[in-house]
C-alpha cells in the first residue's frame, strides 16, 4: 500500500526527473544571460575609452579606464598643448586623465543635481502615491462608500490612456500654476499617475486581510487609525512593497513628461542622459556610466523588497 503511494507520487507532475530539472535550469540560465547581457554591456562600456566604445567589431576585451565616469562628472575645455605644458603638474588622477586628451576640467557637470532630482521626485512621488493609495484602498475595502464602484471605476479610468496623451493640457496647466520645472510639480504629476494603480493593487491586498483583525483591535482599545497602523499595515506589507516598486519604476523611468516639463532646476536623469555630449558626438562611455549609476538605486530597492515582491505579485490579484 505504502509502496503504491510512493510510486504514484514519484510519477506525479510535481516531481520532475533530473533531466527535466537540468533542462529547466539551463533555460533559466539562458534567459538570465539574455536579460543580463545588455546590462553587462553597459557596465563594461562605462569603463571603455571613447574609441573602444565605438570600435567595430565590438571589443569584449579592452583596457579599462575611468574616463567615462570622469567625463560624466565634469565639464572640460580643450586647450592647446602649449597651454597645458605651462600649467602646474596635475593635482589628481582625474586631472591627469583629462590632460592626456589636451583638456582641462572646467568644473563639475550637472549629473549630481539631476540624480538628486531623480531620487527626490522618484521616491517622493512613490511615497505619496502609496500613502494616499493605502488610505483610499482601506476606505474602499472597509467602509460603505456611496457610489464606491463608480468611484473606483473613475480612478481606474485615469489609466485608460497613456498619460502622455494629456501632456499638452498638463503643460498649459503647469505653466499657469508655475509648476513647470519644479520638483513639486513633478512629484504631484507622478503621484497622480501612480495613485490609481496604487489604489487598485492595494485594495486587492487589503480585501484579503480579514476584518476581524482590526475589529479585535478596535474592541481592545485602539482607534480606527491606530488599528490601521498597528494591525492592518503590518499585514499589508507585501502589497505595499509590491505597489511601491511598481510606482517607483514608473516615476524613475518616466521620460516624456520629464522632457516636456523639466529643463533645468527639476530635470531628472532620463532626459539628462541622452544629452551627455562628448566631443564630436555622443560620449558613449559617459552615457553608459550615467546609465549604470541610474540603474543602481532601483536594483537596490527591488533587492531590498524582493522577499515581499514574489508573494506580492502572485497573491493579491484583483478580485471583485
Amino acid at each position: 500500500m505504502t509502496a503504491a503511494v510512493a510510486r504514484s507520487t514519484a510519477h506525479s507532475i510535481v516531481d520532475a526527473s533530473p533531466r527535466i530539472k537540468a533542462f529547466a535550469g539551463a533555460l533559466v540560465i539562458l534567459y538570465a544571460l539574455i536579460t543580463i547581457l545588455p546590462l553587462l554591456w553597459i557596465v563594461a562600456t562605462a569603463f571603455k575609452s571613447q574609441s573602444d566604445a565605438i570600435a567595430y567589431p565590438p571589443k569584449v576585451i579592452f583596457e579599462p579606464t575611468l574616463e567615462g565616469y570622469v567625463n560624466l562628472f565634469t565639464v572640460r575645455t580643450r586647450q592647446t598643448p602649449d597651454f597645458i605644458a605651462k600649467l602646474p603638474p596635475p593635482e589628481t588622477w582625474y586631472d591627469k586623465l583629462v590632460r592626456k586628451h589636451d583638456m582641462v576640467i572646467a568644473g563639475p557637470s550637472k549629473v549630481v543635481p539631476r540624480f538628486v532630482n531623480s531620487l527626490i521626485i522618484g521616491f517622493g512621488s512613490t511615497f505619496l502615491a502609496v500613502f494616499l493609495g493605502t488610505l483610499a484602498a482601506y476606505a474602499f475595502s472597509r467602509f460603505r462608500i456611496p457610489l464606491a464602484d463608480d468611484l473606483l471605476f473613475f480612478i481606474l479610468s485615469t489609466r485608460m490612456m497613456p498619460p502622455v496623451a494629456v501632456a499638452i493640457p498638463i503643460y498649459l496647466m503647469y505653466r499657469q500654476l508655475n509648476l513647470t520645472d519644479t520638483r513639486l510639480g513633478m512629484i504631484l504629476l507622478y503621484t497622480a499617475v501612480n495613485v490609481s494603480l496604487a489604489v487598485w493593487l492595494l485594495k486587492g491586498f487589503i480585501d484579503e486581510i480579514p476584518r476581524e483583525y482590526e475589529e479585535a483591535a478596535l474592541v481592545d482599545g485602539y482607534t480606527r487609525l491606530q488599528a490601521l497602523r498597528k494591525v492592518v499595515l503590518p499585514q499589508a506589507v507585501t502589497g505595499i512593497a509590491a505597489t511601491a516598486i511598481f510606482c517607483l519604476i514608473f516615476s524613475w523611468n518616466e521620460y516624456a513628461f520629464a522632457v516636456l516639463l523639466t529643463s533645468g532646476e527639476a530635470q531628472t536623469m532620463p532626459p539628462f542622459i541622452p544629452f551627455i555630449i562628448g566631443e564630436g558626438g555622443q560620449d558613449w562611455p559617459a552615457v553608459a556610466a550615467a546609465t549604470t549609476l541610474f540603474v543602481v538605486p532601483i536594483v537596490m530597492f527591488t533587492v531590498l523588497l524582493r522577499k515581499h515582491l514574489l508573494r506580492g505579485i502572485t497573491f493579491g490579484a484583483m478580485r471583485k
Binding site: E215, A216, A217, L218, D220, Q226, Q235
Partner: protein, 365 residues
C-alpha cells in the same frame, strides 16, 4: 461584570432589515446564547453590543449606562471572533497582552497578567510560540486569553467554536462553561448550533429573520416552545407537526384530531375553528397497536441507545425516537401513541403556541 440591556434595537442595511426591534435583558453573570439559523441577525446584534456596528434605532445599556454610540474601545467588553483573529505578526504572549498594551499598562504588569491568564487556560508553555503553529484548540484558548486578560465587563463570542472540528468542539464547550463558572462573567454567545447553546447557556434567545422568537432556559425553549419556529429549530430530529382543523375551549383536556379524540395538556384559551398543529417531540411517540394514529414504517436510523424511526402517516411523515431494542420492520403498519402531557399546540396560521397547562411561566420574545 455587568448587566446588558437591549431596547428596541433595530438595524437595517439599505433595504434589508437585519435586526428588528428586539428588547431583552441579559443579567449579570449570565451565559446567554443567541441562537438561530444563518442570517437571522444574531451576529449583527452581537456586533452592535460590541460597538462594531451602529444601530439604526434603539438603545444598548451596559450596567444602566447608555453606550449605544460609544466607541467599541470605550465599552470595556471583549470580543472573541470565529476565526480567532490572532495577530499573525505577534507571538502568543504578545497577542494575549495586546489589549493591555492598547490601554498603556506598564510592561511588568502586562507580563504578570498574561502569565496569570495563561495559567488559567493552561497555555503557559505556549507563550513564546508563533500563533501560526498552534492547533485550533490552542488558538481558541489564546483568543479567549486575549479576551479575559482585560477583565472586561462582558464577553461577546461570535461562533467561537465554529472553526473547530466536531470532537474538539465538544471538549471546548466543557472548557468554556467551566471557565464561565470560575470567572462568572456575563457572556453573550452567538451560535447556530443548538447543541452548543443547549449545553452551555443559562439563557437562550432564539432569533429568526431579525426577531427574537423566544428567550428562556434551555429546558424552557425545548419543552415549551413559544412558536413553531422554535419548536422546529430546537431538537434533533425536530418536533413533528400534525396539522388539523378544529376549535378549542379553555379547560378542555382533549382535542378532536381528525376522526379521533387525543388527550392533550389542559387548554387555557378559547379558539374558534382554525388551522392548528399538534406538536409532538420524537421521544414522546410510542408504538402501540391500539394507537389512533396509524402509519407505515418508512425507515430507521440506528443511533446506539436509540433509533429514529420515520413513519408515513395520513398527516405527514413523523419521526419517532424509540429504544434501539424495539424491533422495527420497514413497510409494516404500526399504531402510534403520544405522551399526552408533553404535547404542544400551535396556531398553524400565526405559528404561535396555544396556551396550555404546560406553557405557564413562559416568556415570549
Amino acid at each position: 461584570m455587568a448587566q446588558i440591556r437591549i431596547e428596541y434595537l433595530r438595524k437595517s442595511f439599505d433595504q434589508f432589515t437585519a435586526v428588528e426591534g428586539s428588547t431583552f435583558t441579559i443579567d449579570d453573570g449570565t451565559f446567554f446564547a443567541l441562537l438561530g439559523p444563518s442570517g437571522c441577525g444574531k451576529t449583527t446584534t452581537l456586533r452592535m453590543i460590541a460597538g462594531l456596528e451602529l444601530p439604526t434605532e434603539g438603545k444598548i445599556l451596559l450596567d444602566g449606562e447608555d453606550v449605544t454610540f460609544h466607541r467599541a474601545a470605550a465599552r470595556d467588553i471583549a470580543f472573541v471572533f470565529q476565526l480567532f483573529a490572532l495577530y499573525p505578526h505577534m507571538n502568543v504572549g504578545q497577542n494575549i497582552g495586546f489589549p493591555l498594551k492598547c490601554q498603556g499598562m506598564a510592561r511588568h504588569e502586562i507580563r504578570e497578567r498574561v502569565q496569570e491568564t495563561a495559567r488559567m487556560l493552561r497555555i503557559e508553555h505556549l507563550l513564546s510560540s508563533k500563533t501560526a503553529k498552534l492547533s485550533g484548540g490552542d488558538r481558541q484558548r489564546v483568543a479567549l486569553g486575549r479576551a479575559m486578560v482585560r477583565r472586561p465587563k462582558a464577553f461577546l463570542m461570535d461562533e467561537p467554536l465554529g472553526a473547530l472540528d466536531a470532537e474538539f468542539r465538544h471538549l471546548m464547550c466543557g472548557e468554556l462553561r467551566d471557565l464561565h463558572d470560575r470567572i462568572k462573567a456575563t457572556t453573550v454567545y452567538v451560535t447556530h448550533d443548538q447543541l452548543e447553546a443547549m449545553s452551555m447557556a443559562d439563557q437562550i434567545a432564539i432569533m429568526n429573520k431579525g426577531r427574537v422568537e423566544q428567550i428562556g432556559t434551555p429546558q424552557e425553549v425545548y419543552d415549551r416552545p413559544a412558536c413553531m419556529f422554535v419548536a422546529d429549530f430546537i431538537g434533533s430530529p425536530s418536533m413533528n407537526f400534525l396539522h388539523f382543523e378544529g376549535g378549542l375551549r379553555s379547560g378542555d383536556r382533549a382535542i378532536n384530531f381528525h376522526d379521533t379524540r387525543l388527550a392533550v395538556p389542559e387548554i387555557r384559551e378559547d379558539r374558534a375553528s382554525a388551522a392548528l398543529a399538534l406538536g409532538v417531540r420524537p421521544e414522546h411517540i410510542r408504538f402501540a397497536d391500539a394507537g389512533s394514529v396509524r402509519g407505515e414504517v418508512f425507515g430507521a436510523e440506528y443511533l446506539g441507545t436509540t433509533q429514529i424511526v420515520t413513519i408515513d402517516t395520513a398527516y405527514g411523515r413523523v419521526a419517532a425516537r424509540l429504544p434501539s431494542s424495539a424491533s422495527v420492520r420497514i413497510g409494516e403498519t404500526v399504531g402510534l401513541e403520544f405522551n399526552s402531557d408533553r404535547l404542544s399546540l400551535f396556531d398553524a396560521g400565526s405559528g404561535l403556541a396555544i396556551r396550555t397547562a404546560r406553557e405557564e411561566g413562559m416568556r415570549h420574545g
